[in-house]
């Protein structure tokens, strides 16, 4: 049974990746657009004069270079082969830079931002949710909880814009945009790390504000269901200390679905904050994507989409495979 589940799950992973690659390949081609021509048109719109007889040959030679003149099936097979080798091709706008190096250099920024923010909101949200579900939360928490709850309905990046307006524009406490100031160069010094930290506060805060409500809500409803369980009654009857019942008996059991949800949200760690990064011009994957869209850099757009789908699908696979270890009540058997 275990082996069958394992194989089925691995096949599902490859199906997702295959579908993503296929979608990535056929969708842009179905529209009949020509990336090189679009790029030239865009340059022309920006005032670069591209006229004369050489243009068509220029387009043709670039199409040969990127393999866009071959029959579609051959292109597709080449593309599948390239993707299997994780070769995402070269950027049109930043030729001859490799798409993979362009994207990978942005990944640490995205992960750093989202990992910190997610862990913070998870810890705060779970604790607050547990207290509220247990009915022994301090008064002020009961009061602010609905606010967090409503925040979770608002898209993070708008929260980000509001925070920017208040803290960066009105009070000028924190920097407006970027991962570090334009005047400093990345270097492994304390000053630079402080700079990076200062720039990450607002983007991280906007994610934390938006997510805490979500975690608190999940934890609250689990605590409410656990409240009536026999083992809690028994623990109370034994006269155990309140704190011990709360942490060891209630929270420990209630936290399992939270952990699963945390693992799942870590799966989207690269893509989760794309729009926040765009708002804050944070140098992560989101900014790479938006620059590629503006610059009509097809291969970069496809590369970002492919890499993100790959990482999400891969982490989902890992989660599903280790899930029974986290929660022994789940076995591979049941569906």
């Amino acid at each position: 049974m275990t082996l069958e589940y394992f194989i089925r799950r691995v096949i599902q992973f490859f199906v997702i990746v295959f579908l993503a690659v296929t979608l990535n390949f056929f969708f842009p081609r179905m529209s009949g657009q020509d990336p090189i021509r679009e790029k030239l048109l865009q340059l022309e719109a920006q005032g670069v004069s591209i006229t004369g007889e050489g243009v068509e040959e220029f387009i043709a030679s670039y199409n040969t270079k990127f393999g866009l003149d071959k029959p579609i099936l051959e292109q597709y097979l080449t593309y599948l082969g390239q993707m299997a080798r994780l070769d995402l091709g070269q950027s049109i706008a930043y030729f001859p830079q490799q798409v993979s190096s362009l994207v990978l250099s942005a990944v640490p920024w995205s992960i750093g931002l989202l990992l910190t923010a997610t862990l913070m909101s998870f810890t705060i949200g779970t604790l607050v949710g547990a207290l509220i579900g247990w009915g022994n939360a301090p008064r002020f928490l009961q009061f602010i909880f609905p606010a967090f709850f409503v925040f979770s309905a608002v898209p993070f990046y708008l929260m980000g814009l509001l925070l920017l307006y208040v803290f960066a524009f009105q009070f000028k406490l924190l920097p407006l945009f970027g991962g570090y100031s334009t005047s400093t160069l990345p270097s492994p010094t304390i000053d630079f790390y402080m700079e990076v930290f200062k720039h990450s506060i607002l983007p991280a805060l906007s994610i934390v504000l938006a997510q805490t409500g979500y975690w608190a809500l999940g934890m609250r409803s689990m605590m409410v269901t656990i409240e009536g369980e026999d083992y809690i009654l028994q623990a109370e009857a034994k006269g155990l200390k309140k704190g011990r019942i709360f942490f060891q008996y209630a929270m420990r059991n209630a936290i399992l679905p939270q952990i699963t949800a945390l693992a799942m949200s870590l799966g989207t760690i690269i893509s989760g904050a794309i729009l926040v990064e765009v708002i804050f011009a944070y140098p992560g994957v989101g900014s790479v994507l938006v620059r590629a869209i503006l610059g009509f850099d097809w291969f970069v757009i496809q590369g970002v989409v492919f890499l993100i789908i790959l990482t999400v699908a891969f982490s989902m696979l890992i989660i599903d495979l280790i899930y029974p270890l986290l929660d022994p009540r789940i076995s591979y058997r049941g569906d």
């Binding site: 599902q12 199906v15 997702i16 579908l19 993503a20 979608l23 990535n24 969708f27 842009p28 179905m30 529209s31 009949g32 657009q33 609905p146 709850f149 409503v150 309905a153 608002v154 898209p155 990046y157 708008l158 814009l161 509001l162 920017l164 307006y165 960066a168 524009f169 407006l176 945009f177 989207t268 893509s271 794309i274 729009l275 765009v278 708002i279 994507l289 938006v290 869209i293 503006l294 097809w298 757009i301 496809q302 970002v304 989409v305 993100i308 789908i309 999400v312 699908a313 989902m316």
Partner: protein, 317 residues
């Protein structure tokens, strides 16, 4: 079993009135209590639904009354002097292109909502059909539908939409945006409704209908759809919210309808022209606050609907 049939019938009758009052309290009340009082009680017991609906009503009034008062020409580029701070003439000032911001809000808000309604409507329609289809045929069809839904749900939706959006030839329009977003908006409705239909199929009143010789489609239309109504409405609200969220995301990434005045496009231009750096707060804040207002309204409505659809959740938040 007979008793269950009766209870279910009663809850249908209540749903038809647009009210859903827990049966036990209802029975205890004397018959003379008017519907108005019952409605009022329900309103007090379900503040999220009331509050959310009121907020949506305010939004509707803003769009309708605003639409009567404004001159649409003011939302054209170069219609006014650009970058004017709010004044008596331009209550919310003008943007970098000389559009009157208040006019843009009055015109753009319904456009954004339109994207949500179209995509949400398609999503729920397709989702409902798939749900019935997959439960009705069961077996391999059901497995196929549910695994496609499960697989697609694990894929980051916004990025799939990005790929679809960059593939659209020609200029983007608001309705095109709605169709693009609809490409994924059926996933959640299909999943939620399928599980509801699956449960409902086992219910005594459906079996009863089958015994009386009703045909499959007749049972679906006369028995199941009315009982599915609360779920249809609540998945619709969620789908609308999701579609609006996705469309604003695409617009913020620069993939929106550039000629339109939707809330998302207004935000895109704000980011594009760095209105924060320049301090054009009167241009930046209105679309943000409008979207926040809209989302909080939809969120409250969906909370309230959950309470209506699923009485076991009934407790104040």
């Amino acid at each position: 079993m007979k008793q269950m049939v009766e209870t279910d019938d009663r809850s249908i009758a209540e749903n038809d009135q647009g009210l859903s009052i827990a049966t036990d309290t209802n029975v205890a009340e004397p018959k003379s209590i008017s519907r108005v009082i019952l409605a009022f009680r329900y309103v007090r017991r379900n503040p999220s639904l009331t509050g959310g609906s009121l907020m949506l009503l305010i939004l509707l009034l803003f769009v309708v009354i605003g639409g009567l008062l404004i001159d649409p020409d003011n939302a054209r580029p170069m219609a006014n002097r650009p970058r004017l701070a709010p004044s008596a003439e331009h209550l919310l000032g003008t943007d970098r292109q000389g559009k009157d911001v208040l006019t843009v809000m009055v015109i753009g808000t319904p456009q954004t909502i339109r994207i949500g309604l179209i995509a949400g409507g398609i999503g729920v329609a397709v989702g409902t059909i798939l749900a019935f289809f997959s439960v009705y045929y069961g077996g391999i069809v059901d497995i196929l539908v549910s695994s496609v839904v499960d697989i697609l749900r694990t894929v980051p939706g916004l990025l799939v939409l990005v790929i679809i959006a960059i593939s659209v030839p020609g200029d983007m329009t608001v309705d095109m945006m709605a169709l693009i977003v609809a490409a994924l908006s059926w996933l959640n409705p299909a999943r939620i409704l399928r599980s509801q239909v699956l449960v409902m199929k086992q219910k005594p009143y459906v079996e009863m209908a089958r015994f009386t010789g009703m045909s499959g489609p007749e049972i679906i239309i006369k028995e199941m759809i009315p009982n599915l109504m609360p779920y249809l409405i609540s998945t619709f609200v969620l789908a609308v919210a999701g579609a609006i969220l996705a469309s604003i995301g695409l617009e913020a990434l620069g993939l929106g309808a550039f000629e339109s005045n939707t809330l998302g496009m207004t935000i895109y231009w704000n980011i594009h022209y760095g209105s924060l750096l320049n301090g054009w707060w009167w241009w930046l804040l209105p679309p943000i606050l409008m979207i926040v207002f809209l989302f909080v309204a939809l969120f409250l409505v969906s909370l309230g609907l959950d309470e209506w659809a699923n009485p076991r959740l009934r407790r104040k938040l």
